[in-house]
Amino acid sequence: MLQAIQHLGRSGLDFFQRTGRAHILFSQILIGIYSLLPRLGLLVQQVYSVGVLSLLIIVVSGLFVGMVLGLQGYNTLVDFGAEESLGVVVALSLVRELGPVVTALLFAGRAGSALTAEIGLMKATEQLSAMEMMAVDPVRRVLSPRFLAGFISMPLLAAIFSAVGVLGGYFVGVGLLGVDEGAYWSQMQASVDYHEDIMNGVIKSIAFGVVVTWIAVFEGYDAVPTSEGVSRATTRTVVHSSLAVLGLDFILTALMFGES
């Protein structure tokens, strides 16, 4: 019993310490971004490995999610004779929710885990230590560019996901199921609002990008420098950032779409 309470206390303390470290690291990363400005080459390299390499999975998933939405939406709407509204259903689900959320989850699995593993291994093999001794701050040289790359890539990936998804819904709805093409687009345009829907979706994806890359970079930097420690950290990145994305999504949705 006493042991259980002690254990609880220890993990509580541990949690707060980690949270504190994560916030300190976050501010250091932000300061580091400033010194990154004259060195865009580093950023480009990271946007490549964080963003471009995630492109394929995002495009393919976006297409399939859009196609499934088209199919399911049609089956539901046709009962009410409202299949003209298919475009609205597909676009709103993608732009408001699925685009940012599914992209963030895939991003956590594809890019986040890779970031954690890479940074964790650099720590385990003393590369970060060696940089420090060469008077190169690893936070600025290694973490900041990776963080900024995630911050930039996420909204772009989410936009690509949504756009490809809308096209996927179009192929299924208009191409296969015979929904009127004009109705698909015009109903969509009539109901999807630029500020309310598109911009809020973009804001969501930016928030998710920050959270996922922050968690990934922190877990790597804070990993126990052994192969087991790195593998644990990688798992934690995927689990924690997925949970964070879903929780944050609820909060943001309540704030953005609450009143209307």
């Binding site: 650099m122 003393e126 590369q127 060696a130 001794m133 008077a135």
Partner: protein, 272 residues
Amino acid sequence: MTNSDPVLLKVRDLHFSRGSRKIFDGVDIDIERGKVTAIMGPSGTGKTTLLRLIGGQLHPARGSIEIDGQRVNKLGHSALYTLRKRMGMLFQNGALLTDMNVFDNVAFPLREHTDLTEDMIRDLVLMKLHAVGLRGARDLMPSELSGGMARRVALARAIALDPMIMLYDEPFTGQDPISMGVLVRLIRELNDALGLTSIIVSHDIAEASSIADHIYLLSNGKVVAHGSADDLAESESEWAQQFLKGLPDGPVPFHYQAEDYLSDLLNGVNGR
């Protein structure tokens, strides 16, 4: 640099622990300017730890480390980084950056800290690589190098910025007799030609005595003996004699601290 104190690096009353285990328990070391000083001791005494303390990566629990008049553990972030630019450190396992090839690894500190043109960087890098005999390996990735080669590349990288003080963590392990000889000469030449101050951590008594002007023997968190190679050979200290002759029995324990062997065995699983 203008400081003309012959002692470049002063360690005073150094205390440091890892958990409950004391690594250093009141260590005093003086490293003289322009000399090669060897730090020797049994495996696990904390030689690597000492180098990290000197580099400011670890903080002593008590005592001070002073380099050229600056107290390492009291420096702010940017002052510490300025000081580190004048230090070169050779890591025990090389610690090369695995996402770059040999050339880029050696060029890394130059690109980070200087505004030299790529042409000049290329010349400098090839010079340093040539000095360690690996000019031909410039396009290899670190994963394609042997342990000894990786350490030589790391040495080339450590001297790229022409530091004022070089810290070598076991530079000789894993080198064949030829490259060992070359390395010993290289370290000596670097030291004399560039006016460096070198600290070498080593187990290798013969090589260390051949280049070191001064030797410190560490054991159990204390300095047990120091002096030139000849001083130590004639020293009365049992520690020094045992270590230099490589005898298993004597005051220097071969085993990591543990309870009595026999009772440990008899305790069985329950005792862990």
